[in-house]
């Protein structure tokens, strides 16, 4: 589904150049939920922006479903960390969700219906007429997720989507992602710096090094379904995996200092 080979990205040039990604190889299978975890400032967001076509990498190649990424691919949606900046404050929640569907050749009634359906699937059936600023942070991020779902992308990228909400909301949203990928058949790449989260939601966890980022660990997560916040987190496999991912991330941090 997603093939990344020898990806390299350098910001700027000359002595002030910053090498964010260096020779990163990664492939994600159709329908997989991949967690990407790494220390902060390691180039995770750069990776997402390259996949989404928002920036052109200085080297390497990214293919989605066999097609090389040039401009922003139209079978892809991104959920950003900062919902308050990524939602459009001048539009109602329903309009926010429906807007990207203009790319889908749908008439207004169908766009509306699809937006309402997506809002229902994130538990916000009644919020359509409200404005983003009238909702809590967690609810705003649900709107952003609904906007991505309504678009029915084959690949959804999530850039630390739960980094700006409180712990309880974070768990709710993690479960929402698990529930969503059960309903919609799509590939998800979720970036996080939270080790537990990476294991809890992922089918697979990839650990990145400090910048310039490359893959230092790739672990399969084989936890019994359905997952839930209590039993999954006390499962011996979960405990073992989070320790292993933790060691890898720590190792990266230790090696850097």
């Amino acid at each position: 589904m997603l093939e990344i080979s020898n990806l390299t990205h350098v910001y700027g040039s000359g002595p002030t150049a910053h090498r964010a990604i260096d020779g990163l190889d990664l492939s994600v299978a159709e329908g997989e939920l991949l967690s990407v975890v790494g220390p902060s400032g390691c180039g995770k967001s750069t990776l997402i922006r390259c996949i989404a076509g928002l920036i052109r990498p200085t080297g390497g190649e990214i293919r989605i479903a066999g097609t090389p990424v040039r401009d922003t691919p139209d079978n892809l949606a991104v959920v950003f960390q900062d919902y308050s900046r990524s939602l459009f404050p001048w539009m109602s929640v329903a309009d926010n969700v429906a807007l990207p569907l203009r790319r889908r050749n749908m008439d207004k009634a169908r766009r509306r219906a699809a937006a309402q359906e997506a809002l229902e699937s994130v538990g916000l059936a009644a919020a359509g007429k409200k404005y983003p600023f009238q909702l809590s942070g967690g609810m705003q991020q649900r709107v952003a997720i609904a906007r991505a779902l309504a678009y029915r992308p084959s690949l959804m990228l999530m850039d630390e989507p739960f980094g700006s909400v409180d712990a309880q909301t974070r768990e709710d949203l993690e479960d929402l992602v698990l529930q969503v990928r059960g309903h919609h058949r799509m590939t998800i790449v979720l970036i996080t710096h939270d080790i537990d989260e990476s294991v809890y939601v992922g089918d697979r966890v990839v650990v990145l090094s400090k910048a310039p980022a490359h893959v230092v660990g790739d672990l399969k997560v084989d936890l019994p379904a359905p997952r839930d916040q209590i039993t999954t987190r006390e499962h011996p496999d979960f405990v073992h995996l989070r320790a292993e991912v933790g060691r890898l991330v720590r190792g990266v941090e230790a090696a850097a200092s």
Binding site: V78, F80, R103
Partner: protein, 257 residues
């Protein structure tokens, strides 16, 4: 709450009028003539049924509106263009920085010589003066557009023009509105000033000149009073429109109601 504020405002105005009355009657040096409020207010009342004055108000406000609309028609698209294409902005910046501080009133004599049609001349100088606040505010608004908001739409595969129209323009609309409100005050100054310079058949400024030529100070002050009231009313109306249309902006920036 509102009525208490109104009451205090009314008390302030009443106090000012009484103080003015006393000052003019008892503290003005010998030989200085100035009409006290007790003369001006009844005269201002009579102006409401004075056909010549009302005709003047209509003429002035027509020039005001035409000048302001012209400035919006030029300033908003120009501001959007400059904001969207930074190289163009950098090229034009020195010219803007040079023209902007020139007091707009100073171009009136030039405009009188260049533009034969009287009302066209007045509209032109009004539009010229209004152009700056509209243009500069639009430009600031465009610069202030959140890059994450733009990326959000881009990531769904929208092109630069769609991002401009659907994100940058609505996001900077509150700034445009503020610029238009500021310009509406400037427009009144210029519309009246042009009449004071050039005379004409009708207008608040024309009325003032005529009153001056027969030494009717009370009429001058009364007409000036109405000019102030007009400016105040226009400003109040525009603030009300801004509050209604851009409620999302106020909520976001946390500006007090």
């Amino acid at each position: 709450m509102i009525s208490a504020r109104l009451l205090r405002g009314a008390a302030g105005v009443a106090g000012f009028l009484v103080a003015g009355e006393l000052l003019i009657r008892f503290a003005l040096p010998e030989g200085v003539e100035f009409p006290p409020p007790s003369t001006v207010l009844p005269e201002a009342g009579r102006l409401l049924v004075n056909g010549e004055f009302l005709q003047g108000v209509v003429t002035t406000m027509a020039n005001w509106a035409a000048g302001l609309l012209l400035a919006i028609a030029v300033g908003v698209p120009a501001g959007v263009l400059l904001g969207a294409v930074p190289p163009v902005e950098r090229a034009l910046r020195p010219i803007l920085e040079f023209l902007r501080p020139i007091p707009s009133v100073a171009i009136i004599p030039l405009a009188i010589l260049l533009i034969a049609s009287d009302s066209l001349m007045k509209i032109t100088v009004t539009a010229y003066a209004c152009l700056w606040p509209v243009l500069i505010n639009t430009l600031y608004g465009m610069r202030d557009v959140d890059p994450i908001a733009k990326d959000s739409l881009r990531s769904f595969g929208f092109g630069p023009l769609a991002v401009l129209w659907r994100v940058s323009v609505p996001a900077s609309a509150p700034f445009m509105a503020a610029g238009i409100r500021i310009a509406s005050g400037v427009a009144l100054i210029l519309a009246v000033s042009a009449e004071l310079f050039a005379g004409g058949t009708a207008g608040i400024g024309v009325f003032v000149i005529k009153a001056g030529s027969v030494l009717r100070l009370d009429l001058i002050v009364a007409a000036t009073l109405w000019a102030g009231v007009l400016g105040l009313l226009v400003n109040l109306a525009l603030v009300a429109v801004e509050r209604r249309v851009f409620h999302w902006h106020r909520a976001r920036t946390g500006e007090a109601v």
